[in-house]
């Protein structure tokens, strides 16, 4: 690596000196050749999105003379980590926010507070709660990009068919509407799914957040057995009990997520919990018109009986971190400043900007239904589970217990009590 680097340096020096000579001949002042240092950036985006990343990179490279960012698409995060461990990793890379704690513990991320302080960057304008996704033990280890959170999509026509004019606000209303709008075939199989049970994920933690619950206590204990969590599970359970777990699960195999056979797209799903990319896929990629599918977006339901508070949602983000043993940390930081913190990244990728002031950016005007998400983001508080090094293990165990609850093998209370015990054992609390 080092050998290659110096070879390139020599080449560049020679090339620039030679060209400098020619330029110098024609002008009064001889130019001083500047050598760009490389910054290796490995990213997780492929396909069409990968191309946008490359254009962000090339724009940045053209905009300044100090650094040359070289992007590499790596499909698998594990490879990046191993390369870092072996000393042949990138300077900058991205991941999902859940992993930041273990990375910090392993010592593979560069703490960023000193850079932030030195360059006097403030995050006052950022969406409430979003910067927390990058903190661990009160230190900042990464910069967020592409915040995502979920909202509730609903098929207006199917709702109206059952006599509902407005979307649900609470969990009881959602369950009621879901049950009333479900259509079942003669053989009990489901034709129209009322509940947002497709795609096959639980949205458990998202519902806990919108119900105002927390998965971790202030002293770091794992608390999956709060009333909010149990209510969220029971919401799923109650719907499934009514129509049969087997039938609901079979329905899940009836189409492919975000393809033309996706049940929400075909009008076979009434409610859907999803992110801000969905309208774009519906209107732009799949070219489904308003006549074919008229949908609305509203916040996830709150818990019945709660007093109205500021809306809460669980947010997750991609995080960009500088590797602790990277060779060009300054270059990586500069790219972060120019491309990510500035909001350029979110602009180009069409994701939610971190800064509130950028929410009304004209760039987003073309994205279908972006405004629904932006408006919500302006007034909401975002929460995310506080980073801890055992998160991956805990999430797997948590998912396993939740699965038992929603397939009726255990009650919600039993499953969550079990999860609490196991989780705290893993955490050592």
């Amino acid at each position: 690596m080092l050998k290659k680097f110096s070879k390139i340096t020599v080449l560049l020096l020679t090339a620039s000196m030679v060209s400098g000579l020619f330029i110098g001949c024609g002008k009064a002042k001889p130019t001083v050749a500047v050598v760009k240092t490389d910054v290796n950036f490995w990213y997780l985006w492929g396909g069409a999105e990968g191309k946008r990343v490359e254009s962000i990179i090339s724009d940045y490279n053209k905009s300044q003379k100090k650094y040359n960012v070289k992007g590499l698409y790596v499909a698998d995060m594990q490879k990046v980590k191993v390369a870092i461990a072996g000393g042949s990793g990138p300077d900058l890379t991205d991941d999902f926010n859940g992993n930041i704690a273990s990375y910090a513990d392993e010592g593979i991320v560069e703490p960023l507070d000193s850079y932030i302080k030195r360059d006097k960057i403030d995050f006052k304008d950022s969406l409430t709660g979003v910067m927390d996704t990058c903190k661990y033990n009160n230190k900042t280890y990464a910069m967020p990009g592409g915040v995502t959170f979920f909202m509730l999509f609903y098929n207006k026509k199917l709702l109206a068919k059952a006599g509902f004019t407005a979307p649900p606000k609470t969990n009881t209303e959602l369950l009621n509407m879901a049950i009333k709008t479900t259509e079942v075939n003669k053989d009990k199989s489901i034709n129209v799914l009322g509940f947002p049970d497709f795609p096959f994920v639980y949205y458990h933690s998202n519902l806990i957040a919108s119900f105002g619950g927390k998965l971790y206590s202030p002293d770091g204990k794992f608390t999956p057995d709060t009333p909010e969590s149990i209510s969220a599970l029971n919401l799923l359970r109650n719907y499934r009990t009514k129509f049969g777990v087997d039938n609901v699960l079979k329905f899940d195999q009836s189409g492919k997520y975000t393809q033309a056979t996706d049940p929400f797209m075909t009008g076979n799903q009434v409610f859907r919990i999803d992110g801000q990319w969905l309208p774009g896929i519906i209107r732009n990629d799949l070219k489904i018109t308003k006549d074919q599918l008229d949908f609305g977006i509203c916040p996830l339901p709150t818990l019945d009986g709660q007093t109205a508070t500021q809306p809460i949602a669980e947010a997750s983000s991609s995080i960009f971190y500088i590797t602790a043993n990277g060779k060009n940390k300054e270059g990586a930081w500069d790219f972060l400043k120019s491309a990510v913190i500035s909001g350029v990244w979110d602009e180009k990728m069409g994701t939610l900007p971190i800064k509130k002031s950028l929410l009304d950016n004209k760039v987003y005007a073309d994205i279908p239904n972006f405004k629904d998400f932006a408006d919500f983001a302006k007034q909401a508080t975002f929460v995310s589970a506080p980073a801890n090094a055992k998160m991956v293990e805990i999430n797997k165990m948590f998912g396993d217990e939740a699965e038992l609850a929603v397939t009726m093998k255990k009650t919600a209370e039993e499953a969550m009590k079990e999860a609490a015990t196991k989780g705290n054992t893993i955490l050592g609390k």
Binding site: I108, F200, L249, F251, D252, S254, G399, D400, T407
Partner: protein, 302 residues
Amino acid sequence: MKKKHKDTIAGLLFASPWIIGFLIFTLYPIIISLYYGFTDFSIFKPPIFVGLDNYKALFKDELFIKSLNNTLYMTAFATPINLLFGLGTAMLLNMKIKGMSFYRTIFYIPSIVPQVAATILWVWILNARYGLLNNILKIFGIYQPNWFQDPNYTKPALIIMGMWATGTIMIIFLAALQDIPRSFYESADIDGANNWNKFIKITLPTLSPVILYQLIVSIIFNFQIFTQAWVIGEAGGGGNAGLFGGPENSILFYATYIFYNAFSYFKMGKASAMAWILFIITAFITWLVFKTSNKWVTYGGE
């Protein structure tokens, strides 16, 4: 004397590719992985000796126990099923019928289909809603299981997939069957033996060495099942919100769990301990099969 000397050098030279490979990539790793099993080793830091902690922790690890159970289940069921099916189809193919080579080809080809593609094909065939199999079952009014989302049916699904690919086993049995001298059967015919007797008294005993070989190879193969389970985790119709292991971890197998521990969780120590346990179990079962084989295997003729 000189010739012997020359021969030894020649022998070493010719065998050197294997010897080098063995020393660097087999012997050394075996020894060092034994060591890793006693350490806490995430590759970001050097290994820390922790004695038997990994092993103790494993036996308390629910997922470890699950992966072991799943693997034992597959081995215990898939092995005899595949052997019986392979033997059965081989005997069918052994008949003197026209177009035998055509049938042989058809029966064999599925086993050479790349595992990833075969797995994906079967995930599609076993799709609970649109899959070929469930639609056929529907016509006959039989219950259509939710193959990849019902924890009771995920392993049976894998067993069905495995049966489709028993071509190799079948070919070996077929060749062995064709090796049995006709005279054996002729003399049995003279004695008035019926088909069943012929099978039990002649076919099986003569085939027994090959059965032994297949048994051991199958057991070892089933213990290491990886690709199918891995691919299903991604392509299968969901199951446990996209976390690995399938619904209720019903297809979390030993090899996939080792892989996750090594390359997702970076718990190299734990993964190495698991690998050694596998080694010991495999060696033990192989020894056991060999030991009991004296009772039922007959070598060379009568």
